[in-house]
Symmetry: C2
Amino acid sequence: MASSTIYEATCSAPVNIAVIKYWGKRDTSLILPTNDSLSVTLDQDHLRSVTTARADPSFSSPPERLWLNGVEEEIKSQGRMRTCIDEMRKLRKGLEDKDDKLPKLSTYGLRICSENNFPTAAGLASSASGFAALIYTLASLYELQPAVSTSHLSRIARQGSGSACRSLFGGFVAWQGGETTDGSDSLAVEVAPQEHWSELQALICVVSDAKKGTPSTAGMQRTVATSPLLQHRIREVVPARMKDISQAIKARDFNRFAEITMADSNNFHATCLDTSPPIFYMNDVSRAIVQLVEEVNRASEEAGKGKIVAYTYDAGPNAVLYAPKENVSLVLGLIRHYFPNADFDDTFNLLSSGANASHRGANQPASPLPTQEQGLPAGFNSAVIPVHEAGAVRRLIHTQVGDGPRLLARGGADDEVGLLNAEGEPKRLQRSKRA
Amino acid sequence: MASSTIYEATCSAPVNIAVIKYWGKRDTSLILPTNDSLSVTLDQDHLRSVTTARADPSFSSPPERLWLNGVEEEIKSQGRMRTCIDEMRKLRKGLEDKDDKLPKLSTYGLRICSENNFPTAAGLASSASGFAALIYTLASLYELQPAVSTSHLSRIARQGSGSACRSLFGGFVAWQGGETTDGSDSLAVEVAPQEHWSELQALICVVSDAKKGTPSTAGMQRTVATSPLLQHRIREVVPARMKDISQAIKARDFNRFAEITMADSNNFHATCLDTSPPIFYMNDVSRAIVQLVEEVNRASEEAGKGKIVAYTYDAGPNAVLYAPKENVSLVLGLIRHYFPNADFDDTFNLLSSGANASHRGANQPASPLPTQEQGLPAGFNSAVIPVHEAGAVRRLIHTQVGDGPRLLARGGADDEVGLLNAEGEPKRLQRSKRA
């Protein structure tokens, strides 16, 4: 049973979606990337991983146990999880050695329980938010901050899952690839905080896909090994774009931000196609969304206005659309017209209650095309893509730029927030199956 | 009416399909490419353009008339057709100036009639074979050869349609991009004749596509203007591949030929995707064919054998599959299994008469998967792609490496072959409409 004092922390961490893509490792065990990358942190109120970690001397054999979405996972030696836990213990040990009034948590066993609030069905990678939540929770449990900087923590999260290092900050985050062989300079830094450009919102279009694509871990190394174009991307394309998009973000220049974001998404998928054998992540629905976005932007610019929206695609068919708050209703209207019957998380209550009532994929006719009164540019060619079959886009998630990891609770298993019960077991088991 | 002696020639020219792709012009009026390219000439017995040209002093006002597939076309001043005709007249004039016994054909009016034996529905570009047939026919009418070399003629065909220069030779043909600003060194040369590797065959898979993609003339210049990756392709990727594939062809090394052909097709489409806005030519069916080819090659190599087949895609969704003669039945069986009900031109009578009877797109069930006895590699994963809906591949055309342009007939409107009647008008009008 647990000792009198309960050493426990529960934290949440956000998802991030890159606008300058990470693709390729120069060191696969330390997870050192072949190029810098830059991402937007999304709001934890909508998408998050929550982790509870408890340290207790009574926890032993094994000294650590881990549950992900209610399913216990083995912590493999030599594994990434192992590395992260050991590194965090080491940092705690360092503090204990300096101050012997500190309880020797580094010697205690650990119970770790983590859950995502988004089902895998959302088609979103959970490793970034998951490892960020793990590292931030252990840092809170071990009270490492401020002694240990967040960028230092990001170095450890990086070794769990590369892009996890970017989820340790809110707002706009750069992962500096670094040059050293030990990875000491491969870490995340804040480019701009959430508040700097809080009007930036995101609409995630979850695209139905028959078969699972190439896993990114395997795919990116195949690209490194076989794509002649990737080397040019690494040497020439990305360094220039990192500078340019950082400036665009600092200037809140959506037009430039959109231009670079779309170009880099296409550049990344071009290197996947240039891989042997080629890797395909975007499908015909992904491409139709690209064509829709390009057309509404073209019409808007032709009307002397700026771009309306930007697309970006990770290692899958889903589109993440970034747009300033004032454009999202139009973008949503366009997506719902051309891609009927998507389940829609109307988190910002954009739809009239009437529409709201029927927005959960019920088999209603396609929503009407937005009108010019609703902001559709006059020159928009409505025949740019056909109205797709119901469910071609399965689900829409509307969110916005968000903050970094949050401490939700300390201590007591009595609190509502913690995921572990008094015995140090998950309050909810098998949740993943029910999701 | 026509003068006593009839000056007329009728010639045919082949289609060519590039294995190192031409994409981008350094001079759009002279049609000078940004990189070298290399193609395989396909057999005129299956796919060809036929042109009849007649010169007669009675032809005037206008001095030239032109019919394409039975439809009269205006010859625009400053147009590409205009350039080609003027250049050919100039060459004839040169001979007449040297030898005044020659009739002054360069001063006569012209009637030109051209037809393709493949409907546009085949989804094959006809400009290459069309301009090659035009140039070769005028060269025959004007009796320019041997005084004028075929490579010289290819320089003129190039100004009609870039890839047309490659259709002036049979077998394996390189278009040397050249460096001069006047284009004098931008011409086609034979890498190896048809007889050198006559076992190489092609299966063209015509893929249904909802909407027409970006026209290549506009698309390639958008890529030149916006794709950072294209510059790397031009400077680094293509020059090395031109050398390598020429060696592979000389050595009849299908494995290497296939490897480079597939890599360059993917590299070309990668630069299209890297264009802003991105250009998409391949669709989900195109990609499924890629995955099928990669899987059967993987399984064959795993079994210690070489590659079975290679794919290449031009500016559209159609796949052109190259394979040694002995592999084509297997490839055909695979395509017909996963893509049922394609119309099939069984030019080599590969199918049993029974299958033959029902091969014209009748709605029969998918053909069975080829067996290991039929050459399917043991390790082949039959779940690599799903069996597609009937007609996803609309049509299959089986052909082989072929020879260069042919002179079919001279003189007399009485001959069966010529396309013009005694009055110098097309024997068949509006054929394109009936095709």
